[in-house]
């Protein structure tokens, strides 16, 4: 698997601010990986996400040090509209992403920006509406849908462009648990069927952990922990100090480990936790 994202000694400070939003970030992401980024509010997660699809420095004024390379090329070197052909971004507030009158127009907007023909658009539309379950909503105004439906539309609008790199910035913040799960089901499908590289910023780890290959922890503009998911969550003390609350099962086993009742690797998913609990009782 080739490295498609390479961030080297990267720092970013927004204009008219006293502190950098990101300091000395070094990250490599290989193609096809699913990466979760977590951290407290203000730790720099969104800034990092914006740096990956050219919004920074394209739309923001600030001071940049280091490099952000996507497919071997610095983001600033991409011409306007070029990077967006293979990176897609979903934001936390779906409402702020809707500018069209109908769901269909919303989904088609990005495809028209790519210069696709009508037959290609039609085919892509069919595919993405089936993937995200939006077939019956195409003629509805997106702002009249429920929160979960809105976020599915926002996701579909980006997926329709079939980006090789998909970045989601807190995509389920405004959703109820059922809608949240639906979004992650779509992501799971993508991971399985399309081999996209997916980067998700999330506070809710329940749905993120089973899908993530690697996790990144940001704190106060710095990257303080990065590892494969299983190894990542063995650092529970550090994670807890940062105000991150992993799933209940993981916390439960962490408490058991602290009390000296177990010495095994902490289980990060519910099936693993269930298995380990059974072993404990046996």
């Amino acid at each position: 698997m080739s490295v498609i994202i390479e961030i080297k000694d990267y720092s970013w400070q927004y204009m008219n601010t006293r502190q950098a939003a990101l300091n000395d970030i070094n990250v490599q992401v290989k193609e096809g990986m699913f990466v979760g980024i977590i951290g407290a509010n203000g730790s720099g997660k969104t800034t990092l996400a914006y740096s990956l699809n050219g919004l920074i420095p394209g739309q923001y004024n600030g001071i940049k040090h280091g490099e952000v390379l996507i497919y071997g090329k610095e983001v600033e070197e991409y011409k306007s509209g070029e990077l967006q052909k293979f990176t897609g971004m979903v934001f936390s507030d779906p409402e702020a992403q809707f500018t069209a009158m109908t769901v269909e127009d919303e989904l088609v907007f990005g495809l028209e920006n790519l210069g696709m023909s009508i037959p290609e658009i039609r085919e892509r539309l069919e595919w993405v509406t089936e993937l995200t379950g939006l077939e019956t909503m195409l003629l509805k105004p997106p702002y009249e849908l429920s929160g979960g439906q809105k976020q599915r539309v926002a996701l579909a609008a980006v997926l329709a462009m079939t980006p090789k790199l998909l970045i989601l910035d807190e995509p389920t913040t405004m959703l109820d648990p059922v809608s949240r799960r639906r979004v992650f089901e779509v992501l799971a499908k993508l991971k399985q069927e399309q081999n996209n590289t997916i980067i998700v910023i999330e506070h809710n780890l329940e749905n993120l952990i089973p899908l993530a290959d690697r996790m990144i922890l940001l704190s106060d503009s710095r990257l303080i922990l990065e590892d494969e998911t299983q190894q990542f969550f063995q650092n529970m003390e550090l994670i807890s100090q940062e105000g991150i609350y992993p799933p209940g099962a993981l916390q439960f086993f962490y408490e058991l480990k602290k009390a000296g009742k177990i010495s095994d690797t902490l289980p990060v998913t519910l099936p693993d936790a269930s298995k380990q609990l059974k072993q404990l009782f046996d």
Partner: protein, 210 residues
């Protein structure tokens, strides 16, 4: 690495001057801000047109003037564009005939353009720090509304045969007063309250288009 200044330390000249090495270009944000201003103006202008009508889109307290003039001060040519376009839609909703609304365009263009021009020409502080800022803005409001008041009732409404010569003063003063009074109520407050924030956004326009 350049020195950072807070919004309160920056001078009026610095607000309008493009600094050495500063890159400014027209972008998507300007299209967006134009659309948003048209949207706000549409709502606010329609409120004024429906609540305080004199007739034919002339109002004796037109709240849309704030969006028209303040939008142009902050966003230059994009604000002027929005300020020229939105009254067309707000008047339409309020029942002004299509071609009458279209004929008001020059009046709305001047009403939006003049305050934007005086701020850039005289390097006024949009945060209204001095009497000079208030004074010149006030003059710009007077002159631009006077133009609008002469153009619209005199040229448009008389030209369409909708008014008599005897009733012209009512409409001229109505247009003029409706804009100046509403401008006095809204413009200064909005500039004072929001300019410090706006000048730090990427949407703020120093020249005319970026």
């Amino acid at each position: 690495m350049s020195e950072q200044t807070t919004a309160s330390e920056i001078t009026a000249d610095e607000i309008w001057e493009v600094q050495p090495g500063e890159r400014r270009s027209v972008g998507v944000i300007h299209i967006v801000i134009t659309a948003l201003l048209i949207g706000i103006g549409f709502v606010v202008g329609a409120f004024g047109s429906i609540s305080f009508p004199l007739g034919f889109g002339v109002n004796f307290f037109w709240t849309g003037i704030a969006v028209q003039q303040i939008g142009a001060v902050w966003f230059g040519g994009w604000g002027v564009l929005a300020g020229t376009i939105f009254p067309f839609f707000s008047n339409a909703i309020a029942g002004t005939p299509f071609y009458v609304s279209a004929a008001y365009i020059p009046a709305n263009l001047v009403q939006a353009f003049l305050p934007a021009w005086v701020f850039r020409r005289f390097k006024l502080d949009p945060r209204l720090k001095s009497g000079r800022d208030y004074g010149i803005l006030f003059l710009a409001m007077i002159v631009s509304s006077a133009f609008g008041a002469l153009w619209s009732p005199l040229v448009v409404l008389k030209g369409f045969g909708l008014l008599t010569t005897d009733s012209l003063p009512l409409f001229i003063w109505g247009w003029f007063g409706g804009n100046v009074v509403a401008g006095l109520v809204f413009n200064f407050v909005l500039l004072k309250a929001l300019s410090a924030v706006v000048i730090r956004t990427p949407a703020f326009v120093k020249r005319w288009w970026s």
